[in-house]
Symmetry: C2
Subunit: 880 residues, 2 copies
């Protein structure tokens, strides 16, 4: 038998993940670089496979190997299994090559029995601790190894508590624990027909077998099936000696960071407890001391620790988060991993490490979570204040940042309070374009319905305002001016605070900390710009947004949604007149009123952009979105427009659709009412000519036709646009260049991209709709379904947040490839919400887009993510 089935920790490396599992490989690596890790060994994944091949039996030769490694372990530790004076105790843990829920996790303190528990009490000088550990060990072993229902152990435990009148677990005395242990042993004997195993070796072999068995439990099998993990991969088992930080005043335990995780400052930061186990630090029963106390108490161990911090940072070239134990003056490292850190710390650590020549600029750029960048652009809550505040509801974190203001349940109220100098949070069941004025007045938005891509969320992100969406517990009673959560009632005018980054809603005012663009932030962004290939544009409909985005580094507008312009107060009556008109003549009359507004809108945008490009999308949403919904509003429109209420309702009914998402909108409107596209084209072209005449900017308008599904459809609308453009230029006596392109947002457009590219000078992927139609998911209806799918492991992530690589991604790749077959210089971009999502930007980089476009506050995120995409792609040149 040549194959080796068991590896001591000093026989492996971090690259042996497939054989040793993730955890085993990590322990081996720490051992390898000379860190003081409690010794142990790993039974390999191949041993697990053999277990199944051999009919659920561990082969004698493997048992012999395990025993050999155990003997080595005893030798290294100077302790023996079952030794009544100084017994070896171990933990047994599973560790598959791929992290996988549902399998047996951990058994601690294995090796305890009626004899060794006495020794543990003496060694830790804590008899109660020893018996409680023993009690827990029997219970854990009984449950996961012997498969006795946990409920039966709990019944015994709770019975004892009731019997002695103990309110909490800690109220049980040592004698009580001893009695419980006796009952547990009796239970075990009744259940499995034999005594609880007292021989530590037998305990260990049973535990190893249980880990192998758990590889094939129902939950693990389903998980592998769903995630396409091969069944024959197998799991490894790690057996590691226990060390005790609670052996008296020469022992202790702690957690620490190599640098300050809040600020990034270069100093060891952490907490320490004398005579304690790791659990005690976590449980918070005793208050830990700052790590500096360790230097005083254990100067030698601390010096070792300082050195280890240096070694770890040099080895991993990153800031580390470590757990350690001091047992009788000797330091043991239990874990090290890359440290979580705040956005501020991440930026500082990355820049410092470049200066320290520990990492290069590329690595520094990779070290910043792109999502963190957005936090740096928004105010945040004072963390201590937030921790103390009362959470009254929770929703989806739909737009990041933090906001404080008074509850306002209507647009009118929000506008009124804002005008009187108050800060306002607009709280609505959901928002529609009619709520725009209220949204502008508010510091933040809170909705009871809708998801990440609801109207409220999209508009809020565009405005850089914080938004919590879909907080389902909230009930809004506008008539009585109250918001209810369960049986609690909050009045309009009361202060609340929203955290758009974690989705929490707090009562009262929490202190806000304004954003700070430090010098380090600027350095990172400059490095990112040097690396990235993708251009970054902004989705913006107002000059204010354009100006904000340019400050954030935007290189043009990727999506200007003209319909947002129509919702503004002075324009909506004319637009509704157009919809209600009986014939083309009536529509043209109404459109003539809109033309000057549209032209001046575009002029303002072009002026703000200077010579940067702008893609304008022709009218997209279904017309019924522009008509009033309530009887009250219909009545008002009837009065204003002179059209009867009946006629308005009739038109509304005629426009009503079963599935508006798949209905009369996008270029279908342009085909039905060419006069709309003509007016918009005239506005775009004439605005560009006027700004060019007035300011001298070279403007090449990009006119984008939405919801195209095929070549002929695009050709038809392009013909309308081209003619209107020619006429406008003739009228103005000046020729300019312009481009006509299309959204790729209907699956058929992607599938026939080779045909469509004959008539399109650019494609812009509208991945919101593309995702809706590719999945058959209405984003207004399926937030719950998607949440459930993510919970159940059916999806890794919400496809409206990150582009679905395998479905939507394949379509995009196909469209890019086939589009460029027809037109090699086809310009490709993305303007869906995904344009600001880092994982999605990686995909965009891979399939060769020219730019991404996103909301203003995502622009710096996209710049960084685009740089990271270049670096990562160079590493893994793999197919999608």
């Amino acid at each position: 038998m040549d194959k080796k089935y068991v590896y001591s920790f000093n026989e492996g490396t971090k690259d042996m993940r497939a054989l040793l599992g993730g955890k085993g490989a990590g322990l081996a690596e720490m051992t390898r670089i000379g860190l003081p890790v409690p010794f142990g060994f790993t039974v390999t994944t191949e041993a697990c496979s053999r277990y199944y091949e051999d009919g659920k039996k561990i082969d004698d030769s493997i048992i012999a190997e395990i025993k050999e490694k155990l003997a080595d372990l005893e030798k290294v530790m100077g302790k023996k299994f079952g030794d009544p004076d100084d017994p070896l105790l171990v933990s047994v843990r599973s560790g598959a090559p791929i992290s996988m829920p549902g399998m047996m996790d951990t058994i601690l303190n294995l090796g305890l029995n009626d004899d060794t528990v006495v020794a543990l009490g003496k060694l830790t000088n804590n008899e109660r601790f020893a018996y409680d550990s023993y009690r827990r060990f029997i219970q854990m072993f009984g449950d996961v190894v012997l498969e006795i229902p946990m409920k039966k152990f709990e019944d015994i435990f709770d019975g004892k508590k009731a019997e002695v009148g103990a309110k909490f677990d800690v109220d049980l005395q040592t004698e009580d624990l001893k009695a419980i242990i006796e009952s547990y042993k009796k239970l075990v004997k009744e259940e499995i027909g034999r005594d609880f195993p007292t021989d530590p070796e037998a305990q260990m072999m049973e535990a190893i077998t249980a880990v192998f068995r758990s590889w094939n439990n129902d939950r693990a099998i389903l998980y592998r099936k769903i995630n396409d993990i091969p069944n024959d991969l197998g799991t490894a088992v790690n057996v590691q000696s226990m060390v005790f930080g609670n052996k008296g005043n020469t022992s202790g335990t702690g957690v620490a960071f190599t640098r300050d995780p809040a600020t990034g400052e270069k100093r060891i930061y952490g907490e320490f407890l004398v005579n304690a186990q790791g659990e005690d630090v976590v449980a918070g029963i005793r208050t830990p001391e700052p790590i500096s106390q360790m230097a005083e108490r254990f100067p030698s161990a601390y010096k070792s620790f300082e050195h280890i911090c240096e070694v770890l940072e040099q080895h991993y070239t990153d800031m580390q988060d470590m757990e350690f134990t001091v047992e009788e003056g000797k330091l043991y490292m239990l874990q090290t991993r890359a440290a979580k850190r705040t956005a501020e710390a991440a930026v500082k650590v990355a820049c410092d490490m470049v200066d320290e020549k520990l990492i290069d600029r590329k690595t520094a750029v990779l070290r910043i979570e792109p999502e963190h960048v957005e936090h740096l652009l928004h105010p945040v809550f004072d963390a201590k204040d937030e921790a103390k505040a009362e959470v009254i509801a929770e929703g989806l974190p739909a737009s990041p940042g933090a906001a404080v203001g008074k509850i306002c349940l209507s647009v009118a109220k929000a506008v009124e309070l804002k005008e009187s100098g108050e800060k306002v949070i607009l709280v609505r069941p959901e928002t529609s374009p009619e709520d725009l004025a209220g949204m502008i007045s508010a510091e933040g938005l809170l909705t009871a319905r809708g998801g990440r891509t609801s109207h409220a969320a999209v508009v809020a992100r565009g405005m850089g305002k914080c938004c919590v969406a879909g907080a389902r517990e909230i009930q809004i009673d506008e008539a009585n001016g109250v918001m209810k959560v369960g049986d609690k009632v909050y009045n309009e005018g009361e202060y609340i605070s929203l955290n758009g980054t974690n989705g929490k809603v707090y009562l009262g005012e929490i202190t806000l900390i304004p954003p700070d663009f430090s010098g380090n932030f600027g350095r990172i962004m400059t490095w990112a710009d040097e690396i990235r290939r993708l251009k970054v544009r902004v989705n913006a409909d107002t000059p204010a947004d354009v100006k904000q985005a340019i400050e954030f580094g935007a290189e043009g507008v990727g999506l200007c949604r003209t319909e947002h312009m129509f919702f503004q107060d002075i324009r909506i009556p004319a637009f509704r007149e157009m919809i209600l008109a009986k014939n083309e003549k009536g529509r043209r009359a109404a459109l003539a009123k809109l033309l000057p507004y549209q032209r001046s809108d575009f002029k303002a945008m072009y002026t703000a952009l200077k010579d940067r490009p702008m893609t304008v999308r022709l009218l997209d949403p279904p017309l019924h979105e522009f008509l009033p919904k309530t009887d009250e509003d219909v009545r008002q429109l009837a009065q204003e427009s002179g059209v009867s209420e009946e006629a308005i309702k009739e038109r509304s009914d005629a426009l009503r659709e079963f599935n508006p998402m798949l209905g009369d909108r996008g270029c279908r409107l342009a085909i039905e009412y060419p006069e709309i596209a003509q007016m918009q084209t005239e506005a775009i072209i004439s605005a560009a000519i006027e700004v060019q005449n007035e300011m001298g900017y070279e403007i090449v308008p990009e006119i984008m036709i939405p919801l195209v599904g095929g070549r002929r459809e695009l050709a038809y609308v392009k013909d309308i646009v081209d003619k209107a453009a020619e006429e406008t230029m003739a009228k103005m006596g000046k020729k300019i260049e312009y481009q006509v392109g299309t959204m790729i947002e209907v699956p058929r457009a992607a599938l026939t991209a080779d045909g469509i590219a004959h008539h399109a000078e650019f494609f812009s992927f509208g991945t919101n709709d593309l995702t809706q139609m590719t999945y058959g998911f209405s984003r207004d209806d399926t937030a719950d379904i998607i949440a459930k799918y993510v919970d159940e492991g059916i999806m890794d992530t919400d496809p409206f947040k990150t582009i679905d690589y395998y479905g939507v991604g394949r379509l995009m790749k196909y469209a890019a490839e086939y589009g460029r077959k027809t037109r090699p210089n086809l310009k490709l971009g993305i303007c869906g919400e995904h344009g600001g999502d880092p994982k999605s930007i990686e995909l965009c980089n891979k399939i060769g887009l020219n730019y991404v476009s996103c909301s203003p506050y995502r622009v710096p995120v996209a710049r960084l993510a685009a740089a990271q995409a270049v670096i990562k792609q160079a590493d893994e040149e793999e197919e999608i």
Copy 2:
């Protein structure tokens, strides 16, 4: 100069379409096989291209060629251009290689001028005819060649009519026509600054130039752009000598078929008029005589004609439809083409021609329009009766056949009348599953809304009942028991007749002719079965449908929609109880009531099928479809169920969706409520076991999971199904084989077919939904848009009728290919409406599906279409 730009008719063949255009190639072919065709020549498409290359100028060398061919023509005809005794007159027609609207069509009688018109009058012995022809020639030439607005000619013409008090054109006398001609000439001079061309050669050259020019008019350019026809293809021009059937009693004209187009009987069938032109036959001013009269009047010409009929059938090996003229005893063939014929005639002619050894069986199979087959299965109206009946409305021909019955506006009324022995037509705004009882009672269905794939249409086709859908003019006033069309009112109980094949609604009772499965029909179907590769299954939910379909040749059930079973009276209360239940326990209790019904439904289906396979789809539609819609119905449900009205409405509201098509349905229901899928699986498996035990049939149930979008989703639901199947088999003590597969109806499913195939033993393409999502077209909302697209040439055909080859077809091809990469023996089928559409079946054959499935009355259509697909594919092995 080597290239030849002008071909006489005797210099070309039917294969020279690209050079001579379609029309020119046809005329050449007839000439080539020795038919007496009025002679002429074709100016080639290359001459058109040269015209543009040379700066819109016909090169002198080409002009010389034209004149040369003209001289040949004069020689052949023995007539000369401008000859005042017997002038040559010609027609000039455009003819592109691809039929294309928008171009100049035809100029007749070219060669007329003030001199030749006199000759024409004498030759035809009809002065008025001659001057009317001259008048028309100037008008047509003025409009299309000289580009003078038609309106100006019409004003002159109408002015003259008013002046002389003529009510109709024919009331104008020769002198009036002469006066009009003078005014026309004056108008031409004013408009173009020169006289109307009197020289026939000049007329001809101007006409040829006009045809070339029309190649580049706006409409033609847009058409080419939309249809991707190259601009440099060019059009040909045909110049053909005129012949006159109105030169006296030795002349005449006629149209005829080589066989009877109504019955297929082998005898010449047609009509004939002495001393007349073709126009006269068409205009119906004189009543034509049967063709037999020609034999008496012109025995020699008729003998030639009989011979020509033989020649044409032998040459084209098909029944011909011909136009001819006899000029002074001499027969001229003006046109021949494959004859349109009734379904009955098509079948008889094809079988006869096989017996005559004129064609082989494959050709015979190709000769039957698959759509015609369905007509043979349904009753039809007596054609004479139908021609006389009053059309009161028109809708979409949604399900073929004909039906007569009394108008019923409600289900209750329909059931009541049917029970009292009356025949009923159910007339509804639209139908829903609740109307099922009424639909069963009715002979035919008429709806005011909805399209080809509306509920009414789909159910009617399934039942083989006639349906006219979306007859928009109809208004239904159920309260007053009347149906209105415009200002006309029809009472409930009045008789109407529906033609589901042409969409017409008639007042009163039209005589019905029952279907007749003749021996010839059986022969054709047998030949088709020998050729086809695709299996044909049926979409059926009832044993009655299954039996009907098996008679029509169905080889199994491709789609059994379980939800249709839930709508039946006794089941719907339990199903609603399930929906309204507060928790899983309540749902399980309601499902337990449904289980015996589902089981007995499946048993009846399996029994009817004997050993043929059946695919059962798990519950698919959104739950809100099962809840009552009106307040009245909610009240009733509240009384029956004991659930409060409020609670019902609340649940309804909670289930309400913005885009139900993209919402909570299909496998998403199974993931939310696994107990539904469990109950259905138990019913399917236990029914199969029981029928197997009782009848001995070998049943392998096929369980189909709908709306799957990805591999993990399918794995999750398959796990639920597998466990329920295992439990059921264990409970019943018998193991059977079964298969689990999925619908491919979400674009993402097609795009990730390689992954999905890991867990699916079969795919069934749900092309209705796949088309909706691939195009972004809700079929409930976009009928008008699609109609407009087809009108405008943006689409060739409704993609819900025929699969869109380039978009949906690419997805299907991809799914088939990638699915079989993972699982080479993956079974592939289609169960969307397209499964019964011949063009779509061609695609299914090409991409290698195993079967198509369609409604019972489409089964024979599919059998024939599947055979034709095999034959056609062998011919054109081209890529999709």
